[in-house]
C-alpha cells in the first residue's frame, strides 16, 4: 500500500462506519474490496492489519451499530473474510474476537438483517475468502457455520444459493487436500472432519425424498467434479454411484435433467479416463434412459471427449442422429431411403412422439441441430458422420419448413404441419447446412440442395433473419461448387445456379427492408472474397444487374446499408478495374467515378460506419497494390489524409493512420529500401533513397497528420501515430541513435522543431496542438522532418501514451479520494440514467 493510500484509509474507514453518511455507490464498495483482494493476494503477513488499525476498528464499529445498513454490513463481512485469508491475519482478527461475531452463531446469522440477501451474500463470500488455511477450516466446523451453509444452498436468492454451493465445493476440496496425507479409502474415519460433514450431508440429501435437497446435492457434485480432478473424487463417486443410478431408473424422482451435466463432468475428469469400468456402463444407461432432450447435451459432450470408449461414442452419436433419422423415414416413400441409422439406442417411438407433438417438435429439432453444428465444428471428431444422409435430412427439414414437401405417411404429414413456417428450425437447419459445406462427398445432392436454398432466397415468406442465414449457407456452398465444377456438365450446372443466385440477389438488393439489403450486400462481398478468381463467377456477376444495384446503394438512407455497399463496391473493384487483366472494357465501371463516390462518402457522410468502411476499403486497395503507380498513389493518399484528419470519429482517424502505415511500407519496398531497419545497407545508396523517401512522404503530407495525431484527444489515435513514427524513424536513423534523441537548440532554423519537441514533451496533455499547423513547423519540408524524427523522443512519448491510456482513473488512491469526497457532499445526487 502506498503512503498516500495509507494516509487516506483511516478517513475512509471512519466515513464508512458512520451511520449518518448517505449510502455510497455500490461500485465504490466493490472496487474497494477488489483493492483489498489484490493487496492480500500475495502477502500473507499481518502487517496490513497491524499497520492499519483502522480496518479492525471499522469492523468493530460496524458490529457495534444498532442498525447498520445492509450494504455496509455486507461489505464488512466480505472485508473481514479477505483479511482473514491468511493465517497470520486470521489469528489477529481472532485475538480481537471479531470472527465469531461476524461469521459465528453470534453474528448476523438469523438476525433481522439476515433477511436481506446482500447480507447473506456478503457472509458467504466472506467465508469463502477466509477458507485458505487450516485454522479457518477448524473455525467453520466448531462455530456451527457448516449448518448455515447447508441451509443457504436452498436460499430464495439464486445468487446466494449458488455461492453457497460453490463454497461447499471449495471447503470440501480444501479440507481433503490440506488435511490428509495418505490416499483416502471409502472408510469414513480416514476423511477429515469437515469433509466428512459435507459428505454426510450430500449422502443424506441424495437419499432424502425431498426433490430440492436432491437437486442441491446434484448441483454441488456437478461443480465439484467439474473443478476438482484429484484421485479422491473417485472414492466419493463410488460412494454415490448407486444412488445416481437409481435416479436414472426411477421416474418418480425429478432429477434426471440434472444427471446429464453431472455425468458429463465426471466423464471429463481424468480420474475416470480408464475406459473400462462401471462408470461408462452408467453413462450408456443414461443415454438409454434419459429423454432425447435430456440426453442430447450429454451425447454432444461425450463426443467432444478425447478419452471415451468407442461404443459409447457411437451410442452418443446415435442419440443425436435419431431425430434426423426419424425425419428421413417420415418423409420418404417406403423402401426409398433406409434412414440414417441401423439401430437405435432408445425406442424410436419416443422420438416419433416428440416430433409429432406441436410443442416439442421444434424444440427437439433445434436442440439436435445445434448439437450437430457443434460436432461439425470440431476439428477431430472420432466417429464418422454420415454426411450425405445428414444433408438429405437437412434438406428435408427445410422443405418441411417452407411447405415444399407434404409426405404421405401420417408421421410425415404431422411433422410437416408442425414445422411449416417455423423460423427457429429454419435458422438452426441453415446453420448446420453452412457448417456441413466443409465436409466432402455431398456432391450428389448439390442440385436439390441449391433448389431448396434458392427457394428460401426467393420466397417472400422468408424472414430477414432466416434470409441472412440462407445467404451464409449459400455462399459457403457456392465456394464448394466452384471446387467441384471441372467437368462440362457440372460447369453448366454451376453456371445455371450462379445465374439464379444473381437473379434473386438483384431482387433482394431492392428490398424495402434495410436488414435484407444489408444481408444481400454482405452476401455479395462474401461471394467476391472467395470466388473472385473464378472466370465463370466473374462473368455471371458482371453480366447481371448486381454491380449497378450495389453501387446505387451507396446512397441508401440507412447508414448500415451504405457501409455494406461501400465494402461490396470496394470488393467489386477487384474484379472490374483493379484486376490485372480486367475482363470488362468500356466505361460501364469507371474507376474515377467509384473512387470519387467513395471519397465523397468519406468527406460528407454524416455517420461513422460508411466513412469507416471507406477508409478500410482504401487501405485494402493499397495493401493489394491496386491503386496504380506511385505518383497516383501519393496523390490518392494525400487526398485521403486531408479528408480524414478532421474526422470527428476517432476510428476513422485511426483508419487513416493505418492507411499511412501501409503506404509507407509499400513505398519503402518500391524504392528499394529494405523494410527491416536492422538490415545492413550501404550508406551511399541509402542516403539518396532516404531523400527520395522523405520527399514522397512530405508531398503526401504524411508528417503533419502524424505529428498532430500525437496530440489527438482520443488516445488510440495518438498511440497508433506514435507507433507509425517510430517505425518510420527506423528507416532514417541507425538503431544506435534511437536511444539518445538529439537536443535541438533554439536556433531560428530549428525553432519550430524545438517548439514541437517541447509541445510533445508535455505529451498528450498539451491538447492544444494548433490547428493551423504549428509555430512555423513546415511539415512538408524533408529536412525539417528529418530533424524532427531524430529530435523527438518518440519512445518516451510512446511509454507515456501507453501509461495513461485510460481516462477512467483506476488507481486505489483515486478511489479513496472519491469515496471521501462523496461522503463529504451533503446532498445526495438523484439517481439518473442514460
Amino acid at each position: 500500500m502506498t503512503r498516500e493510500c495509507a494516509a487516506l484509509l483511516p478517513g475512509v474507514c471512519a466515513a464508512l462506519a458512520d451511520p449518518r453518511q448517505p449510502g455510497l455507490d455500490d461500485t465504490c464498495l466493490e472496487k474497494l474490496l477488489d483493492w483489498f483482494r489484490s493487496l492480500t493476494w500475495f502477502d500473507p503477513t499481518v502487517e496490513l492489519v497491524q499497520d492499519n488499525p483502522c480496518l479492525t476498528e471499522l469492523i468493530t464499529s460496524v458490529l457495534a451499530l444498532p442498525e447498520p445498513s445492509p450494504s455496509i454490513l455486507s461489505f464488512t463481512l466480505q472485508l473481514a473474510g479477505i483479511l482473514a485469508s491468511s493465517e497470520n491475519r486470521f489469528q489477529h482478527l481472532q485475538q480481537e474476537k471479531l470472527l465469531g461475531r461476524l461469521f459465528g452463531r453470534a453474528g448476523p446469522v438469523g438476525g433481522a438483517l439476515w433477511e436481506d440477501p446482500s447480507v447473506r451474500s456478503g457472509w458467504v463470500k466472506g467465508v469463502h475468502s477466509m477458507v485458505h488455511h487450516l485454522p479457518a477450516l477448524h473455525f467453520l466446523c466448531s462455530a456451527g457455520v457448516m449448518d448455515v451453509i447447508f441451509t443457504l444452498q436452498g436460499d430464495p436468492s439464486l445468487f446466494v444459493a449458488s455461492a453457497a454451493s460453490q463454497l461447499l465445493v471449495h471447503v470440501l476440496t480444501f479440507s481433503v487436500e490440506s488435511e490428509t496425507s495418505k490416499p483416502l479409502s471409502t472408510k469414513d474415519c480416514d476423511w477429515p472432519a469437515c469433509a466428512q460433514m459435507i459428505l454426510k450431508h450430500i449422502e443424506e440429501s441424495l437419499q432424502s425424498s425431498c426433490a430440492s435437497h436432491i437437486e442441491h446435492s446434484l448441483k454441488l457434485l456437478t461443480s465439484l467434479f467439474g473443478s476438482c480432478y484429484a484421485a479422491w473424487t473417485e472414492v466419493l463417486w463410488l460412494n454415490i454411484a448407486k444412488q445416481i443410478e437409481s435416479f436414472l431408473m426411477e421416474e418418480t424422482v425429478q432429477a434426471q435433467h440434472m444427471l446429464a451435466n453431472l455425468l458429463l463432468n465426471v466423464a471429463r475428469s481424468p480420474v475416470f479416463s480408464d475406459t473400462e469400468g462401471s462408470f461408462w456402463a452408467l453413462v450408456t444407461s443414461a443415454l438409454e434412459h434419459l429423454t432425447p432432450v435430456q440426453a442430447g447435451p450429454l451425447a454432444v459432450g461425450l463426443l467432444r471427449l478425447c478419452k471415451c470408449p468407442q461404443d459409447v461414442r457411437i451410442q452418443a452419436l446415435t442419440v443425436l442422429l435419431q431425430p434426423m433419422d426419424c425425419i428421413l423415414r417420415a418423409a420418404s416413400q417406403p423402401l426409398e431411403y433406409a434412414g440414417l441409422l441401423d439401430e437405435s439406442v432408445t425406442d424410436p417411438v419416443t422420438v416419433e412422439s416428440l416430433l409429432s407433438s406441436k410443442t416439442s417438435c421444434a424444440g427437439l429439432l433445434c436442440q439436435t441441430l445445434a448439437h450437430l453444428e457443434k460436432l461439425l465444428s470440431l476439428k477431430h471428431l472420432r466417429v464418422d458422420l454420415p454426411c450425405v444422409s445428414l444433408l438429405r435430412s437437412l434438406i428435408t427439414i427445410l422443405q418441411f419448413c417452407n411447405g415444399f414437401l407434404t409426405p404421405t405417411s401420417p408421421l410425415g404429414s404431422t411433422i410437416s404441419r408442425n414445422l411449416i413456417n417455423c423460423f427457429r428450425v429454419q435458422k438452426s437447419a441453415l446453420d448446420v447446412l453452412a457448417a456441413l459445406s466443409e465436409k466432402k462427398g455431398c456432391d450428389t445432392l448439390i442440385r436439390s440442395l441449391f433448389d431448396v436454398l434458392l427457394a428460401y432466397l426467393e420466397s417472400p415468406n422468408t424472414s430477414p433473419t432466416v434470409l441472412k442465414k440462407a445467404f451464409q449457407a449459400t455462399s459457403k456452398w457456392l465456394a464448394c461448387l466452384q471446387e467441384l465444377s471441372c467437368s462440362n456438365s457440372q460447369c453448366q450446372q454451376t453456371e445455371k445456379i450462379l445465374e439464379d443466385v444473381f437473379l434473386v440477389l438483384q431482387k433482394r438488393l431492392c428490398s424495402p427492408c434495410w436488414e435484407v439489403r444489408d444481408s444481400s450486400l454482405e452476401f455479395l462481398t462474401a461471394m467476391i472474397k472467395c470466388l473472385r478468381d473464378q472466370d465463370g463467377f466473374r462473368q455471371s456477376l458482371l453480366s447481371s444487374e448486381v454491380p449497378r444495384l450495389a453501387e446505387n446503394l451507396l446512397e441508401d438512407p440507412e447508414s448500415y446499408v451504405r457501409a455494406s455497399a461501400v465494402t461490396a463496391v470496394g470488393h467489386l473493384a477487384f474484379i472490374t478495374y483493379l484486376a490485372a487483366e480486367s475482363p470488362v472494357a468500356g466505361n460501364q465501371y469507371n474507376k474515377e467515378n467509384t473512387v470519387a463516390k467513395l471519397q465523397e462518402i468519406l468527406s460528407t457522410d454524416s455517420e461513422g460506419f460508411p466513412r469507416r468502411a471507406v477508409i478500410s476499403i482504401f487501405t485494402k486497395w493499397l495493401r493489394e497494390g491496386c491503386t496504380g503507380q506511385l505518383e497516383d498513389t501519393e496523390q490518392f493518399v494525400s487526398r485521403v489524409i486531408q479528408t480524414v484528419e478532421h474526422d470527428l470519429d476517432w476510428e476513422v482517424r485511426l483508419g487513416g493512420l493505418e492507411l499511412v502505415e501501409v503506404f509507407c511500407s509499400k513505398t519503402i519496398c518500391q524504392l528499394g529500401l529494405s523494410e527491416c531497419p536492422y538490415a545492413p545497407e550501404s550508406s551511399a545508396v541509402t542516403s539518396s533513397t532516404q531523400q527520395n523517401l522523405l520527399q514522397v512522404f512530405c508531398r503526401a503530407k504524411l508528417f503533419g497528420f502524424l505529428f498532430q495525431s500525437l496530440c489527438d484527444c482520443d488516445k488510440p489515435v495518438g498511440q497508433r501515430a506514435c507507433d507509425v513514427l517510430i517505425g518510420l524513424r527506423g528507416n532514417f536513423y541507425p538503431i544506435s541513435t534511437l536511444e539518445n534523441p538529439q537536443e535541438i537548440e533554439d536556433s531560428p532554423a530549428g525553432c519550430g522543431i524545438a517548439w514541437l519537441q517541447r509541445t510533445l514533451r508535455q505529451g498528450s496533455l498539451a491538447q492544444n496542438f494548433p490547428t493551423d499547423g504549428g509555430n512555423g513547423v513546415d511539415f512538408q519540408d524533408p529536412e525539417s522532418m528529418m530533424v524532427a524524427l531524430g529530435a523527438i523522443d518518440l519512445l518516451e512519448l510512446h511509454d507515456e501514451l501507453n501509461k495513461s491510456s485510460d481516462h477512467v482513473e483506476e488507481s486505489p488512491q483515486s478511489l479513496l479520494q472519491d469515496i471521501l469526497a462523496t461522503v463529504g457532499t451533503i446532498e445526495e445526487n438523484e439517481v439518473d440514467c442514460y
Binding site: 455486507s74 446482500s118 449458488s162 433473419t465 444481408s519 460506419f609 488510440p716 463529504g824
Partner: protein, 599 residues
C-alpha cells in the same frame, strides 16, 4: 407465473434491468441492461442463471427491450452475439432506430481504453439489430401461437414502451421506465385497464414526490443564461442521444424568446442522425410538438450549429454540448481542460457519472484533479448537476396501478427502503399483493388459467335439449368427458369418448341395505313396498317381477328376512350410476319406513 431479476449483486440494485418472466410455460426476458460502473464481467447480467440446461435460444421465447437507455439495452449485443442467444428480440420502431447509436457511442468510448476485451464490436451491434423485430404501439404481436405481446406508450424517452405479455388468459405488464406527467417533448404513459395477473413496475422514485420538471428546466436556463451574460462558456457533457435533444429544444426556444446571440454548438457527428430520428418519429412525441410541427419542426434547430475543435479557443461566451457524458475521454474532456481554469465558465452535468471519471470527481466536489499522474488541473469553473430524467414518482406509480388494475404488483429498479413504503401504500389502497424481490430472488404468483376447450356438436345439442333455453348471459353447466390429446382439449359425450379411446363401458352399481320393521312374510312385505312406491312414484314405471323383486326404472329392490331377527326385513336396493338421483331418493324414501295405512 414467476419472475426474477438476474442482475449481479444480491440486493436490490438501482440502475440496470434484466428480468426473466415465466408465464404459462413461456419464458420472456424483459430488458437486457448493463452497468456502466464496471469494466469487467460485472457490467453485464450473469446469463448463466437463466438456464443450466440447454441453450438460451431454446429456453427463451423472446427478449423485449423497453427503451434505448443502456441500463435497459446495453448488454443486448453481448447477449445475442457473444453469449449466443439467437431468438427473436422485440422493441418499438424508435428504439430500434436509436438503440444502435447509443450502443455504438458506448462501444467507442469503451474500446478506447487500453486492453479492453470481451466487448462487442460495431459489426455485432449491427448483427444484433438485424435480429430485432420492431413493433407499433397497441399492435398485438404474435410471438408464437400462444404468446402475444403489445406495446403501450411509456413517455420516458422517445420510443419508450410498456409491454403486455399474454399467454391465454394469463398476462403480465412490464412498465420499463415511465413517466405519468407529460414533459416538453413527450406525452404521459398510458395503459389499458387490462387487469394483468402481475404488473412489474419500476420504482426509482418510489417515495419522492418530485418537484416539477419545469422547475428544474427553469433553473437550468437561468444558470446557462447568467453564465453567458457574464461572458462565460458553458460545457454540457452529454451522450449522443436522449438528454441532448431534450436540452437542445429547451435552449433553442429560450434563445429564440430572449433573442440571445451567443452561439450554441453541438460537438458530435452523431447528433445529426439523432435529430433525424426525432423528426422521423414525431408521432411518438407529445401533442404540442405534433401540432406545431406543421409550422415549425421542433428539431430543426436554428441556433444550434456543428462544433469544430478550433472553436473552443474562440473568445466570448458560448454553449457547447460535447460527448461523452461523463467527462472521461474525447472532446468533452478536452474542452473541459481548456475551460476549467476560468471561474466565469460553467460545466453542467445532466446525468449519472461512474466512479473514477472526471465527471464523478468534480460532482463530488474535488477541485484539484491529477491528470494522468502528472499535471494538476485546478477546477475554478462552476460545476452544476442537474437531473432531467423522467421517471414516475410515487403518485405516478399509484396512478398507473389504478389504470391497469393488476391482481399483483412487483416493484423493481429501486432501493429497498423506499420500495417498502410504496409496497405498504399499494397493498392498503388497492388490496392486492405487492412484492419487492431482491435481484436473484424468484417471485411466484398463482394464477387461475382458463383453458379453452372445444365442445362436440353432438354434446352441445344434447345438453341444450334437456335444460332450459340457452341464455347468452347465464353460464350453463355441462356434463361431458374431457379429452386431452396432442395439446388440445375437447369436451365430448361419454359414448364418443369411449369410442375414440377404444374403451368398453363399465357398469357401476350402488347397493344399499334398508332395514324395515315388518313381522309379516317376505312376499307380503314386498307387496306393501310395491304398493307404497306405486302410490308415491306415479310417473315412474314400478313393476313387481315374478321372482319377487321390484323394479323402479333400472332400480332393483329385493327383500329378505333378517337372519337373527325375523321381525326385521332387509331391503336390498341397487341402482346404476346413471340413476344415482332416483336411487338415493328411493333409499331415503324407504328409510322413512312404510305408511301404516297400507297395513
Amino acid at each position: 407465473l414467476s419472475a426474477f431479476s438476474l442482475c449481479p449483486g444480491a440486493g436490490q440494485d438501482v440502475g440496470r434491468s434484466c428480468i426473466l418472466v415465466s408465464i404459462a410455460g413461456k419464458n420472456v426476458m424483459l430488458d437486457c441492461g448493463m452497468h456502466m460502473g464496471y469494466n469487467d464481467d460485472r457490467r453485464f447480467p450473469d446469463f448463466s442463471y437463466i438456464t443450466q440446461n440447454g441453450r438460451l435460444t431454446d429456453f427463451l421465447d423472446c427478449v423485449i427491450i423497453s427503451h434505448f437507455h443502456l441500463d435497459h439495452c446495453g448488454a443486448l449485443p453481448y447477449f445475442s452475439e457473444m453469449v449466443g442467444y439467437d431468438g427473436p428480440i422485440y422493441m418499438t420502431h424508435p428504439t430500434k432506430a436509436i438503440c444502435p447509436i447509443l450502443l455504438e457511442d458506448y462501444r467507442k468510448i469503451t474500446v478506447d481504453k487500453k486492453g479492453e476485451t470481451n466487448f462487442f464490436t460495431s459489426q455485432m451491434i449491427k448483427d444484433c439489430m438485424k435480429k430485432v423485430v420492431a413493433v407499433h404501439l397497441h399492435q398485438t404481436v404474435q410471438v408464437d401461437e400462444e404468446l402475444e405481446i403489445k406495446a403501450y406508450y411509456a413517455g420516458h424517452v422517445l420510443g419508450a414502451a410498456m409491454f403486455q405479455i399474454k399467454v391465454g388468459c394469463e398476462s403480465v405488464v412490464y412498465t420499463g421506465d415511465y413517466n405519468m406527467t407529460p414533459d416538453r417533448h413527450l406525452g404521459a404513459a398510458w395503459v389499458d385497464k387490462c387487469r394483468p395477473d402481475l404488473l412489474i413496475t419500476e420504482s426509482t422514485y418510489a417515495t419522492t414526490i418530485r418537484d416539477s420538471k419545469r422547475c428544474r428546466e427553469r433553473d437550468f436556463l437561468k444558470k446557462v443564461h447568467e453564465t453567458v451574460e457574464r461572458g462565460g462558456k458553458v460545457l454540457i457533457p452529454v451522450f449522443a442521444l436522449g438528454r441532448a435533444q431534450e436540452l437542445c429544444i429547451l435552449l433553442e426556444t429560450f434563445w429564440e424568446r430572449m433573442n440571445l446571440k451567443a452561439p450554441i454548438y453541438f460537438s458530435t457527428g452523431l447528433t445529426e442522425k439523432a435529430n433525424h430520428y426525432y423528426k422521423l418519429f414525431i408521432t411518438w412525441t407529445n401533442q404540442k410538438i405534433r401540432k406545431t410541427f406543421v409550422q415549425r419542426n421542433m428539431f430543426e434547430f436554428k441556433h444550434i450549429k456543428a462544433f469544430d475543435r478550433a472553436f473552443a479557443d474562440n473568445p466570448g461566451p458560448m454553449v457547447v454540448f460535447a460527448t461523452p457524458g461523463m467527462l472521461h475521454a474525447g472532446q468533452s474532456l478536452q474542452i473541459f481542460r481548456k475551460w476549467a481554469g476560468n471561474e466565469k465558465n460553467m460545466v453542467i452535468m445532466p446525468g449519472y457519472c461512474v466512479q473514477g471519471t472526471v465527471g464523478h470527481k468534480i460532482l463530488s466536489g474535488q477541485r484539484k484533479l491529477e491528470m494522468e499522474g502528472r499535471q494538476i488541473l485546478e477546477v475554478k469553473m462552476q460545476v452544476e448537476y442537474m437531473s432531467f430524467s423522467a421517471h414516475a414518482d410515487a403518485k405516478g406509480i399509484m396512478q398507473l396501478i389504478r389504470q391497469a388494475e393488476p391482481r399483483n404488483v412487483l416493484l423493481v429498479h429501486g432501493e429497498a427502503k423506499k420500495m417498502e413504503f410504496l409496497k405498504q401504500k399499494i397493498e392498503q389502497e388497492f388490496h392486492v399483493s405487492c412484492y419487492m424481490p431482491a435481484n436473484g430472488e424468484t417471485t411466484t404468483i398463482l394464477t387461475n388459467p382458463c383453458i379453452p376447450v372445444d365442445i362436440s356438436l353432438g354434446l352441445l345439442k344434447r345438453e341444450t335439449a334437456i335444460g332450459p333455453v340457452p341464455d347468452a348471459k347465464k353460464p350453463k353447466l355441462m356434463h361431458g368427458t374431457l379429452l386431452m390429446k396432442d395439446n388440445s382439449f375437447r369436451l365430448v359425450c361419454p359414448e364418443q369418448a369411449l369410442k375414440e379411446l377404444g374403451l368398453a363401458e363399465h357398469q357401476l352399481r350402488f347397493t344399499c341395505r334398508v332395514h324395515i320393521q315388518d313381522p309379516r312374510k317376505e312376499h307380503e312385505t314386498v307387496l306393501r313396498v310395491y304398493n307404497h312406491l306405486k302410490g308415491v312414484l306415479k310417473d315412474y314405471s314400478v313393476q313387481h317381477l315374478p321372482d319377487g323383486s321390484i323394479t323402479v326404472e333400472s332400480i332393483l329392490i329385493q327383500a329378505t328376512a333378517h337372519s337373527e331377527d325375523q321381525g326385521t326385513k332387509v331391503l336390498l336396493v341397487s341402482w346404476t350410476y346413471q340413476d344415482e338421483e332416483l336411487g338415493s331418493y328411493l333409499t331415503s324414501l324407504l328409510k322413512k319406513g312404510l305408511p301404516q295405512s297400507t297395513a
